[in-house]
Symmetry: C2
Subunit: 216 residues, 2 copies
DNA sequence: GGGCGATGTATCGCCCCGATACATCGCACG
DNA sequence: CGTGCGATGTATCGGGGCGATACATCGCCC
């Protein structure tokens, strides 16, 4: 999942690790906490090993003679390769089970602006199905196990059920909008239209009923 | 986190792995998918190594002579030890940062019926604080980065923000109830009754040892 | 009698996290 | 002028948790 996210950001512009982490945090802030360096650096090395990215580093400028003491280690700027772009496209297009869990779905969704509509629909529907299953499980427990569970546990289930129902409704709206050819309001940014961009965004917003309230 | 959950279930009754997994799934169904065996069995061995649990296995009944072919492997029933109960109490009482993330909070909350009120309040408030921080982060992004992010990413942030706001409200209610000495009960939706009812235990099941009285 | 789904235990490789360490840069404060 | 501190920056390590996989038995229906 991280692989997709990193490739996606690096496609927009080259960056070093620290920067990448920050961008990741704002792009994926809604679905996960900031990524750990203990994850990031090994992943970058893995991607580099696979040839998807390369170092385009600003090594120390003029100095081959700099003595080891205080060896200024330059920032390492990573850049996506042609193969990396192919890999990104491949990851973007796939819609398997991993794509439907919390983390996978979130990352894919964050790059929907660069995903073709058919894939968007498949992912949205797969996710909906998965959340519906979870919801049914919770309903069953709440219907059958009321005697066996204590009040706090039940309250937890109710809260979880509520979240599931809400997400299903959200997904329904998004799916309906996709089918009717509307993108969420605002303009897609990122890399130049190398694929067919979503239809002109001027129309109606999704999530219009639920939507974003004014901030008091 | 798993450690707490396993100890908690085993405190109610001894079980073998498969059963444990199912119980875990219903108890924690609201916060996480079913636990993997690749997690469960190593964890059980770890707990056993630490002396918190022991095997109370139904080994094959009368046979020391059973030939290796089709060596009937009995189910392994795990039982909590006295040290395990101490450990459980210790874990229950702690309220650190790990207790406030999604997973940690969920597990602790699921055992609130056996947690004393002061700890419940500390955990609830710690969690609220954490979710509020997350919420502020999302608000910032939505307020500042509108130009930089595409419509789908923004929609994701909005959905996340909505979830945060909802959870904060939920936590507020729970905190208010704790302060006024009520356990969670059916969805009130009405005006909050001001008369002090004795904290009603969650389940109405008579003679059940399911709900331990709290220890102040 | 034969298959098939539920029950049951177990391992392996991999992803990811938090803690930790170390080094530089810019700037405010005395 | 220096000194310390918070942000920037790269990196490793131990360990928890996951999905895939393997293997064996049990009960039941056809």
């Amino acid at each position: 999942m991280l692989e997709l996210a990193i490739l996606g950001l690096l496609q927009e512009s080259s960056m070093h690790g620290y920067e990448l982490r920050k961008e990741l945090a704002t792009k994926l802030g809604a679905i996960r906490a900031a990524i750990s360096y203990g994850t990031l650096y090994p992943t970058l090395r893995r991607l580099q090993g696979a040839g998807w990215i390369t170092e385009a580093g600003e090594a120390a400028v003029g100095a081959e003679e700099v003595p080891p003491l205080t060896s200024r280690r330059g920032r390492i700027v990573y850049k996506i390769t042609a193969e990396g772009k192919e890999r990104f496209a491949e990851l973007l297009a796939q819609a398997g089970p991993e794509t439907y869990d919390d983390a996978g779905f979130g990352v894919h969704f964050a790059f929907f602006a660069r995903t073709d509509r058919a894939t968007r629909l498949r992912i949205l529907e797969g996710r909906r199905r998965k959340v519906e299953e979870r919801r049914e499980g919770l309903r069953d427990v709440l219907a059958r196990a009321t005697e066996r569970l204590d009040a706090y546990t039940l309250e937890l289930q109710r809260h979880g059920l509520d979240a599931c129902e809400r997400e299903v409704r959200w997904l329904e709206e998004l799916i309906a909008n996709e089918r009717s050819g509307r993108a969420p309001e605002g303009r897609p940014t990122g890399s130049p239209p190398e694929e067919d961009s979503p239809p002109p965004p001027g129309s109606t917003r999704p999530g219009s009923t639920r939507n974003m309230p004014e901030r008091p």
